[in-house]
Point group: D2
Chain length 105, copies 4
């Protein structure tokens, strides 16, 4: 089990997220969201698979919705009801994988 981390709030959170392309903070600072668009379903699902492997390694999983070539993601640390460094790390990782798969944000 991963250890409990502190939730980031307010300007600490917004400035950390500003450095991660395309991610937005939810009102109330409860989570991060981003829409990823891919050329086709195969690329979208390859992205999800790569992220699923990382999520399982981190024991930290996204909430996500897939409609054909689009993947809408929400990241949140449920144990603290907010956004932690683990969410930021997974957000950065997802950007890296998506860039490899030629996603347009």
């Amino acid at each position: 089990m991963a250890k409990r981390m502190a939730a980031l709030r307010g300007s600490d959170l917004s400035s950390a997220v500003a450095a991660i392309d395309g991610w937005a903070v939810e009102p109330g600072d409860g989570g991060l969201t981003k829409r990823f668009r891919f050329p086709d379903f195969q690329s979208a699902f390859a992205f999800m698979t790569a992220v699923a492997l990382e999520a399982e390694r981190m024991n930290h999983h996204p909430e996500w919705t897939n409609v054909y070539a689009t993947v809408d993601v929400r990241l949140s640390s449920h144990d603290v009801g907010g956004v932690t460094e683990r969410d930021l790390a997974l957000a950065r990782h997802m950007n890296t994988v998506a860039a490899r798969l030629a996603a347009a944000d």
Copy 2:
């Protein structure tokens, strides 16, 4: 490209869906929905992978949301704005795969 099929409506649709465990018809007959629950994320994502392969084979893809061990699915044939035999076929297939993976509905 798959050929265009007729949308099923009303009692034709409800009686066809009644034979497929756990699926519900949306108000207005626009789509089918079901929540699948699995023992863990690994089983949920294995389910999604098996279904993704079938979806790509059929060229007919679900709308779905995954939160850890739960997968919420919506099936609809967008070209006709409703539910066709292809949705019924994919719904049946998803039930078969989920049963193999020991899902509780």
Copy 3:
């Protein structure tokens, strides 16, 4: 990085493996092997995906060959040149996943 474990050898190894259905010890005790057969490619690849997630979580990966509905697996702990408890754990896990997917051994 996972910690280094001791390799099991000889009768310690063979008796441990005897309790895990279908797995064989290589001559020289360097690894474990098993052939998994599935009803179709979709099931075989769903199996591989579930196992890949577990392998990434354990940071311990199989060597495997897939030809349509068959998956040939070799497990070995390269850091010690033999079979450790991690290989046995992954072998048991693969049996559990394969049984769910209705594999015939």
Copy 4:
């Protein structure tokens, strides 16, 4: 079921394959092979997932071996005992996917 295609042989085959980076013709013209190397297991398995989706769509599947970040592939059309346009198409597709995932050949 995909329709039967003619096997390519000799210089027809070798010149067609020469245009697809990194693929080699087996002695006897029975198949095509290539080794793909990725930065890590996650990328290797994301590659395999994207290819699995295409393979299922084509109803034409690779023989492949994965050891951590390496994927060794063999393509052959078993119905004709040789290499057909379907193998060439899948080889090209695999190159495209691998390039996206930053593979070094």
